[in-house]
Amino acid sequence: MKRLFKLLLATIMVLSMAACSSNEPNTGNNTPDEPEDLYVIDTTSFDDLVAKAQEEGGPIRIYSTHSSVEKGAALFTAKYGIEVEFTQIGDAEMIEKVANEVRAGVEGGVDLIFVQDGARLKNELLDTGYVVNYVNERIAAMLPEEDLFPLVFQYCSKVFIYNSENQDGSRWENIWAVTDPANYGLFQMKDTGSEGVNANFFTMLLKEENIQKLEEAYKDYYGTDLVLTEENAAYEWIKLAYQNGLILGTSDTKICEAVGAAGQNQDFIGLFTLNKYAKKDEKGLILEIADDMNPIAGFFYPIYGLISAKAEHPYGAQALLEYLYTPEGWAPWTSRVGDYSANTENAPAKGDKTIAEWSKVLVREDAAFVAEHRAEMEDFIQSIAQ
């Protein structure tokens, strides 16, 4: 046995010196600096795109973090006769997958992705050149310029929503309420480790303006100045929230159901996608939106639409991407609360506010900022998670 072990060790050493040296592509620092280099505005007409796409044939393969894309793509197929293969995958997994697919150059890889989590997207897919930020004239005309890189397809919002069966919203008017020991164990949200946008929200709190807002809100709530035990008010709030019995979930659907179920004697509050709130009546949930939450009622984050660097159907992907921005392609979303097209011509669903209105109370995910600071936040959460 001893001999065997020695042999094993020897083999490992020899192999480790020689063998696996080329797993990671050497694409570390080719990040372009100037915005002009980030993307080229394509001038091909839509009809030409469609014609070329039809030549390419199908199926155009899509990965998306959200399911509605499937229905929009179905409209595209019905109209132009190009098949689409749709797959829904979570953000972390998708980024990993796309990077691997492009590196391996697999056949049948993805063409078009709709992905959230700007921090990882930027670091792992854009900066490495695994995906292309495709923009054409018409898309550029539909969107505000800051949405063109990385190309935002739509926004989603996650807001504080509470169970209103036994109370009005007065309990949840200040964000520090979730850290109040009187509200122990009532706050639920999705694990930052299982969905990056939540970590990005925490990261965004580190922005100076948000730190200030938090400090002010603390004074509003308790009447005294915040005494820091951590570096700043953002860390302080997160730590206190965790210590105050924060419940982590794996899915917004479940959190929504858990918070809103009728007949509970606990007044739960959750931070989850507004879209889940829309299904409350059908599910018999009793929920209200805490949009008075001071100073921050939640956050909204972009879902980016990007094309694989090794796409087998690049024109199909381009045409489809453009199509989904148009009111015609956006049709499946029109009744969805909490989803907002980056094309401001597409109005939000009935009963919902526009993204411009929301941005007054919600924090917007900024890809550059979160890409820079996300790691610090993860380390911090790591240190308080248990």
Binding site: T27, G28, G90, E93, R103, G108, I247, T250, E378, A385
Partner: protein, 598 residues
């Protein structure tokens, strides 16, 4: 020189040597090489870590991960606490599995327990179910108000609110994993109890040994090797269990090594993940070596079967019905009742509301509704995705089972034929290593190994082949162990008799060895098949949309909270595996029990 060449030629003339060499090469690449890669990956800056390791480029050498994991102010939360939790859970699961499975084995083999036939069949259910579905069943039953939502069935029925420690965290994780692997204990310990020479106990009785002393000093030591092998199997399985702690631990932020590894691998610091994987492999290796040292050779347990096949059964007397009923209830609780709960949950619209008006078959056969409705997907029986997943699961499981079963049997054959040589021992250990590598770490490594071309080996990422390979390799230990065990029982003379008359090797295999070992061979296929059908963590990172399997769809649905669909799919998987399992058992006489080596 010439003599050496002749030696070599003589060596290569024996098919078993060729087989061993084949395994050295292929497993060297598929098992040892990944180990090496894990080691390497702990020292490298990965794409997602550039923002963390300041001033580094991808692929740079770094000790950052090691320092952070072991010697940082956050090391406790990153590593030590999860490690401690893992140990607690794994040891606890071993205790649960061995005490529950072992006592059940004793009752079945040694007493006049009632309803043995049905009990033993039902007892296998938890093993056949994907392990995390038992966790979901636990939640369905014992959920308390901590996480909100509809209350658990137990609370609904009794009005008793389950305490937090009972509903989430270490205790339920331990229980669920323990119950999931209790069939292992039953199979292995029951196997020994059944085959154990009854004379050993009779000799003790004649010498006026008290029942208690006999049990403690004869029966227990005799089943000790089985207990130890159960311990190793359950411990390493429990240690690498991912989905159960993910579901039951997360709400109260109870992390174990696997969930921590998943966070890290799937998050922005895979380097930590690789270190954790390495630690887990090391722990498993240490346990294996300790085990070999403890059992040793001195107290060899080769049992000459005695005459008294019909050992007198212990009469439970007035306890017969109570004990039988107790076990019936327990076994039903972990077999049929979870299934009923899955079926129920798949048919109700609003959770926790069991009134008839709330029941629907939409989630089974309804067409997809608009995207703002609950039933926004097609019912699973008319859902093309689900069918494709089922087809892929079947295809993959069959290929992996054929691969693992065939190679495992060949490995068993060659290992036994050359027993005593270092080559044989080397291959035997090599075939066992995949068992020790946590599934998730294994798949992560394959992901990066096969993402690019290595010499003649093409990039396999995204292909069906990579799934087939990892399935085959991961389940090889099961098949090779049962192969070794069964070949040990087959006398060399049987093959030698054919060699004398010049029957070529492949004919000896196909017409003599395999037919004799038929039921072992088929069992060697059955266990990998079932394991693969309900495997998740091994495949979850490697599947691409084109070849996603049913369990990954199920996990995704579970995570997303599409409970009704998820429960329906889960029910389908379990029923499917059960039907196949009992069908094969009936047709061929093979069984999981034989596959495990009982």
């Amino acid at each position: 020189m010439k003599r050496k060449i002749n030696h070599l030629l003589a060596f290569l003339k024996k098919p078993q040597n060729l087989i061993l060499l084949f395994f050295v090469v292929t497993l060297g690449y598929l098992v040892l090489f990944p180990l090496v890669c894990i080691v390497k990956d702990t020292f490298v800056v990965h794409a997602s870590e550039v923002m963390r390791v300041k001033g580094s480029k991808i692929g740079d050498f770094t000790t950052y991960h090691w320092v952070k994991v072991f010697a940082d102010k956050n090391s406790a939360t990153i590593f030590y606490t999860p490690l401690f939790n893992t140990m607690k859970v794994a040891l606890g699961a071993c205790f649960v599995a061995i005490s529950f499975g072992g006592s059940f084995a004793w009752l079945v083999t040694r007493t006049d327990l009632r309803w043995k036939g049905i009990l033993t069949k039902l007892f296998m259910f938890p093993y056949i179910m994907p392990s995390w579905t038992l966790a979901l069943a636990w939640m369905n039953f014992f959920k308390n108000s901590t996480v909100g939502g509809a209350q658990g069935i137990f609370t609904a029925l009794t009005g008793i609110v389950t305490p937090n420690w009972f509903a989430y965290g270490g205790f339920p994780i331990t229980m669920v994993i323990g119950l999931h692997y209790a069939p292992f204990a039953y199979i292995l310990i029951g196997g020994i109890l059944r085959n154990m020479d009854a004379n050993l106990e009779e000799a003790a009785i004649i010498l006026k040994t008290k029942r208690s002393r006999m049990f403690m000093e004869i029966t227990i030591p005799m089943v000790m090797p089985a207990v130890l092998s159960t311990f190793i199997l359950v411990f390493s399985s429990a240690m690498s269990a991912f989905a159960v702690p993910q579901f039951l631990g997360l709400p109260v932020r109870y992390y174990v090594l696997t969930t921590q590894m998943f966070r890290n691998l799937n998050g922005t610091n895979p380097g930590y993940g690789y270190i954790i994987a390495l630690v887990m492999i090391l722990i498993a290796l240490i346990i294996m070596f300790v085990n070999q040292a403890v059992i040793g050779k001195r107290k060899s347990y080769t049992t000459v079967t005695g005459k008294s096949a019909n050992i007198s059964q212990f009469k439970l007397k007035k306890f017969r019905t109570p004990i039988s009923s107790l076990f019936l209830v327990l076994v039903l609780c972990v077999s049929v009742i979870p299934m009923i709960s899955f079926l129920l949950q798949s048919m109700i619209k609003i959770q926790g509301n069991y009134s008839p008006s709330n029941f629907t078959l939409d989630f089974w056969i309804g067409a997809a509704a608009a995207s703002d409705k609950i039933n926004d997907k097609a019912g699973i029986l008319i859902n093309a995705d689900v069918w494709k997943g089922l087809f892929n699961s079947l295809k993959l499981s069959i290929v992996a089972a054929l691969g693992a079963g065939t190679f495992g049997f060949l490995a068993g054959y060659a290992i036994v034929k050359q027993r005593g040589t270092w080559l044989s021992r080397f291959v035997e250990n090599l075939t066992f290593i995949p068992y020790l590598i946590p599934s998730m770490a294994f798949s992560v490594i394959y992901l990066s190994m096969f993402a690019v071309r290595h010499g003649p080996i093409p990039a396999l990422y995204g292909s069906f082949a990579i799934l087939a390979i990892i399935g085959t390799v991961k389940y090889l230990p099961m098949a090779s162990r049962s192969g070794v065990n069964s070949m040990l029982q087959l006398s060399h003379e049987i093959e030698e008799a054919a060699m004398i008359v010049g029957v070529p090797w492949w004919k000896r295999m196909t017409q003599i060895i395999v037919p004799i070992q038929k039921s072992t061979v088929i069992s060697g296929y059955l266990l990998p098949f079932i394991s693969s059908m309900r495997e998740l963590s091994l495949y979850v990172l490697l599947v691409t949309p084109a070849n996603k399997v049913l369990t990954t769809i199920l996990f995704q649905y579970n995570e997303k909270g599409w409970d009704q669909y998820a429960n329906a799919i889960n029910f389908v998987i379990i029923v499917f595996v059960l039907v196949i399992n009992f069908g094969i058992e009936r047709l061929t006489g093979a069984s999981i029990e034989k596959g495990v080596g009982g």
